[in-house]
Symmetry: D2
Subunit: 274 residues, 4 copies
Amino acid sequence: MAYSGDPILVEDLLFKPVHSLIDQSLHSRMGATTTNGDGFGIGWYGDGPTPALFKCIEPAWNERNLQEISRQIRTPMLFAHVRASTGTPVQRSNCHPFRHGNWLWMHNGALRGFTEMKRELALAVDPSLYPQIDGSTDSETLFFLALTFGLTDDPFTALARAVGFVEDVGARHGVENPVQATIATTDGVSVWVFRYSTEQQTRSLFFSTAMDKVRALHPEVEVLHELGDETRFVVSEPLRDLEGAWQEVPESHAGVIRPGDDEIRPFLPVPPVR
Amino acid sequence: MAYSGDPILVEDLLFKPVHSLIDQSLHSRMGATTTNGDGFGIGWYGDGPTPALFKCIEPAWNERNLQEISRQIRTPMLFAHVRASTGTPVQRSNCHPFRHGNWLWMHNGALRGFTEMKRELALAVDPSLYPQIDGSTDSETLFFLALTFGLTDDPFTALARAVGFVEDVGARHGVENPVQATIATTDGVSVWVFRYSTEQQTRSLFFSTAMDKVRALHPEVEVLHELGDETRFVVSEPLRDLEGAWQEVPESHAGVIRPGDDEIRPFLPVPPVR
Amino acid sequence: MAYSGDPILVEDLLFKPVHSLIDQSLHSRMGATTTNGDGFGIGWYGDGPTPALFKCIEPAWNERNLQEISRQIRTPMLFAHVRASTGTPVQRSNCHPFRHGNWLWMHNGALRGFTEMKRELALAVDPSLYPQIDGSTDSETLFFLALTFGLTDDPFTALARAVGFVEDVGARHGVENPVQATIATTDGVSVWVFRYSTEQQTRSLFFSTAMDKVRALHPEVEVLHELGDETRFVVSEPLRDLEGAWQEVPESHAGVIRPGDDEIRPFLPVPPVR
Amino acid sequence: MAYSGDPILVEDLLFKPVHSLIDQSLHSRMGATTTNGDGFGIGWYGDGPTPALFKCIEPAWNERNLQEISRQIRTPMLFAHVRASTGTPVQRSNCHPFRHGNWLWMHNGALRGFTEMKRELALAVDPSLYPQIDGSTDSETLFFLALTFGLTDDPFTALARAVGFVEDVGARHGVENPVQATIATTDGVSVWVFRYSTEQQTRSLFFSTAMDKVRALHPEVEVLHELGDETRFVVSEPLRDLEGAWQEVPESHAGVIRPGDDEIRPFLPVPPVR
């Protein structure tokens, strides 16, 4: 889940009515009901350009430190992520979001065949960035590949090249459908989102319509009146019952959410030139 | 889940085929699929009369220390428990099973109105036992009440008095249906089980039939041939498809599983005499 | 350590130059050099009247969540504590500071013979407060006794009665010198401090002189110029080399630090009337 | 610390008299007195050829799971390690000992300039081994380099080549004195030990003399009579007062401890051939 908009108390986003508006399933994944995930993390922008991170490997719902700080921190930009481990250790350095400078990154999905491809992917990371890889996940490696290919200058092109590179490595290792990814990344101002998988069957990804339009459609939903016009949410599975409130990112598309007009465009991996 | 029988590798009980025989739902509750619980604990008898405990607040399925030691420990008596917190903190001292001397105790359910009753229940614990209460749960308090009422001498009577006492305290505090409990407790030789709730709607509780009979009924189930004749499992929800393999403990009944003949008898709380 | 003064970044207090000014030994106890303690906690006042808590059982110095949030939180009142366990479990609910409503409490020292006295002390806690005791430490029990004896109305009298009560219980249990305590407690505006032990040999306790005076004495110390006039620190062992900067709380004395004039007065336990 | 000899209860080695015989400083580093380290790990041989691992990031001395299992596990070969982080995260995957197949490895010291050298060192790891690097430490990378250079066939040569390689990479990156290392590694039968640093100023390393000789020298030390003739300890700083009991591994030497005669020989890094 990502939030962009007027500064808001983290508690309101994670534990209060706004939350239930956004994404019932995060609520569930945070462990309130049945499931917990393998680690939870939030990243937010506050004092200074560098975002802050809070990550824990315990179920988020009962993590009292998270509850405490969520009542003390206001932010105009929050990333929140529940991890489902695909085999790598459950430890802080493997929890999303990942950070580099003033950028945050989170990824749902997997790089299939990562064990076989890992060395070749790591070698392709810019040598000056390589030592900053802290954990052992496919998601963090993909982030560093994107950084290597220019994420901070042009996210769309960088991701296209990073994904194209992974698919090329996968092909050489006989990995079928190596990439499965919904991704959100931000520099603290704009949020770029990606929905792509090699087999063209990617989990869903949505972002919210401009809040004034949603409010006009559903004036009876009280919580909408607490949210500023520039509010945007990015979620994987929105509630169904707010017609007109959610914009789906189509299969193999990318988008950018920012002050002013948002944009959605096709996403096509760019294979490496040999 | 409780196991009693020939010494067996803990890994076989928790992570291997035997496990799937016993209790699919524990498998699920351990976090392999969707849910994790708020802490996991095992207690087992090994060297010496005092059982050992291993407890963790991380999801059991990915807890690597648990996986490691489960491959190194053989035991004729294992208790395993996944906790679902009903509000008290998620910390080691609140995880089941609880231990006192050579006894183990685990409890599913809750004492309703525990916050209101807690002080009075704690006061009723034998003063010499009181300082040994480590955590803050209703389950541990009920254990110490049972010890106070003579658990180590006569478990059936001790539990009847402990439950009767809680119901009496509950009545005075206006708590409806204060007790909801399936309980297993052991001295390392016998396992006593209890199924009781004030409102007579208790979660289910089963133990397994003598293994030679189960094996005769289902000779095609390979894993049964790995288990000794005195093997007994205690579970809350058995798999349905092994006819004749499971003995249900009826509503408001208690039982004892031991070398030789098992026994099931009605369970009736004994209110305190004033 | 306690800080009261102009809002300041927690990072400045715990990890930056201001910190080294205050208390080299906390620095050491936080684990930067050789020792770590058995848990670390901070409490601070931010949004709303109720203070927030962050506690961890890992060594503070390497706790990355603590580092992260310390850069995001400004507060006019911070309590920080490194615990040295005297036997009770190392778990979040046993870490200082403890909180009740808008009050914080931390305690260095111990109640000797706590295991023997625990039940009687717990029984003396107001029944309405008893269920809120979360952990198992002597320090938290002393807090709840102080609350029972009127901490929020008159801290000096409440502590005198709480300590007098513990000494009385100790005497009846044959415990020599039951109380050893330096204590700090706050309602978010004033900080009350206590230095007392039954044997009259209490660890040291200091608070800082008004900052304008310290600055006048030591104009060359740069960090002093970053601190407002109403800044006060409470520490157990100050650096020696800032003459005139620290006011010692004498043996068996208590004090209050607040906007306006501070006060120090003798502390004499009040035994219970029978 | 390493133990090799008759099967012994882990508790005796870590928490009992035998322990105090061996290494007071481990006792201290485990957190009983003042220091805790940044993670603790043990590896031992039990059922099957693959050793088991138990690692925790909490202070060992208060880690109750460790205490519990230490009373249940007997082993003829134990490695125990307290980590002092040199900057990499405090997490399970960074705790020693490290394991590969039936081998264990632990390292005190550091690779200086590791951040600069990390990528080049990782690239030199055999591609089939690379994906098995779980953590982010210099110690684990050195282990995988040693494996790459033939550790399981000829530990002396493999280490000489691994260290020679690191020194060569260090030289090219302008790192002075890149290697500081005392190392112990085992296949479950023999223990190889190494003491080497580029600047020829390595921390001390000792192993114990044959137990029958130690016993003959110090018949009054009771705990010695509990230990079999083939008992060997490897420690960094032995107690001083048992004359004849400890064999120092000299600067720039390596050794092997095994059933039958032990051996010590000079250690000389072998630089890579270009």
